[in-house]
């Protein structure tokens, strides 16, 4: 085992352990803010795995999009609703938990057996290495052009839909002054160009 392989193995063990424990923490901790931060840790360790697989661009994208944007959004979402609610204890909750655990363990066993037993056809093509980003770019504009352009429509509609759902409808009779600081007022309907609302 030369140095490079040793380094890779040690990194794999560290990243894998980090990922598993932080992912378990996301699911098992009762404080949702801790879960959100641990989720960021999970994303970071996944991006470390991508680096180990020589996918530097994917790793960077993972950190940029998931840790930098999605996880921040999740945190803001949590802080936005920040209501402490006391849930009543569900009777016999352990039955559901045990069943879930059994199903997950069974699925894990099945997939694990499949992964280890199948002779995977590993590509013999040389790794792109530092050229990977360029290769990805060329794929984006040749055989993956259609999904690439469709992704822009998907992003557009996600933006439009998110704004429609997140903004507060302008209701003149319901505007309370103390609410105004915490919510986003929608512009009057004349400006947002919605339809005429007639009486019926």
């Amino acid at each position: 085992m030369n140095l490079a392989e040793g380094v890779q193995f040690v990194s794999l063990v560290i990243l894998g352990g980090l990922m598993i424990f932080s992912a378990l923490g996301v699911v098992l901790l009762s404080n949702i803010v801790y879960s959100a931060f641990l989720l960021a840790l999970t994303f970071i360790s996944v991006s470390g795995l991508y680096i180990l697989l020589n996918a530097g661009f994917v790793a960077a994208a993972q950190v940029l999009v998931y840790v930098g944007a999605v996880n921040v959004l999740i945190l803001f979402g949590i802080m936005l609703v920040n209501k402490v609610e006391v849930f009543s204890e569900v009777k016999n909750a352990w039955v559901g938990k045990a069943a879930t655990g059994a199903v997950c363990a069974g699925l894990f066993g099945l997939i694990g057996t499949m992964v280890t037993s199948h002779p995977w056809a590993i590509s013999t093509a040389p790794a792109a290495g530092d050229k990977a980003i360029e290769v990805i770019g060329q794929h984006f504009f040749s055989d993956f052009l259609l999904p690439f352009e469709l992704a822009s429509i998907l992003l557009l509609v996600a933006l439009v839909g998110a704004i429609v759902l997140a903004r507060r409808e302008f209701l003149p009779d319901l505007v309370a002054p103390q609410q105004e600081a915490l919510t986003l007022p929608e512009r009057p309907r004349e400006l947002v160009a919605a339809g005429v609302r007639d009486e019926d």
């Binding site: 999009v65 944007a69 803001f76 770019g137 504009f141 557009l156 439009v160």
Partner: protein, 120 residues
């Protein structure tokens, strides 16, 4: 199998950088005098008393900005390979990227006009 040998340095960097907080905290633990008065348990030992919890309800505007940021972050990630491979893609690639950007500019204008980017 492991073709990018440069990542050994990355791992070394990672180990050193994760040692920094451990060493800093451990050293201060060894060096500082031990005291267990009630004042050392407060958030700011010699500052103001903090009022209320730190987990307050956030303004929805943060959320709107984060939301718009997610979309345009993804757009950036998509456009980066295009910029790197630009000289190989030629005019057709330029036109295709222009379509991509044009569609998302409509989204930006939408967000702008509907007041999602306004603070007050």
């Amino acid at each position: 199998m492991f073709v990018l040998s440069g990542y050994e340095y990355f791992l070394g960097f990672l180990i050193i950088s994760s040692l920094v907080p451990v060493v800093a905290l451990g050293a201060s633990k060894l060096l500082r005098p031990a005291s267990a008065g009630p004042a050392s348990r407060t958030t700011y030992e010699s500052g103001c008393e903090p009022i209320g919890g730190a987990w307050i309800q956030f303004n929805i505007r943060y959320y709107m900005f984060a939301l718009v940021f997610v979309i345009f972050d993804v757009e950036t990630v998509f456009l980066y390979p295009w910029a790197v491979a630009f000289h190989k893609l030629g005019l057709l690639g330029f036109v295709e990227a222009l379509i991509f950007i044009a569609i998302l500019v409509v989204g930006l204008v939408y967000a702008w006009r509907k007041g999602a980017l306004e603070w007050s």
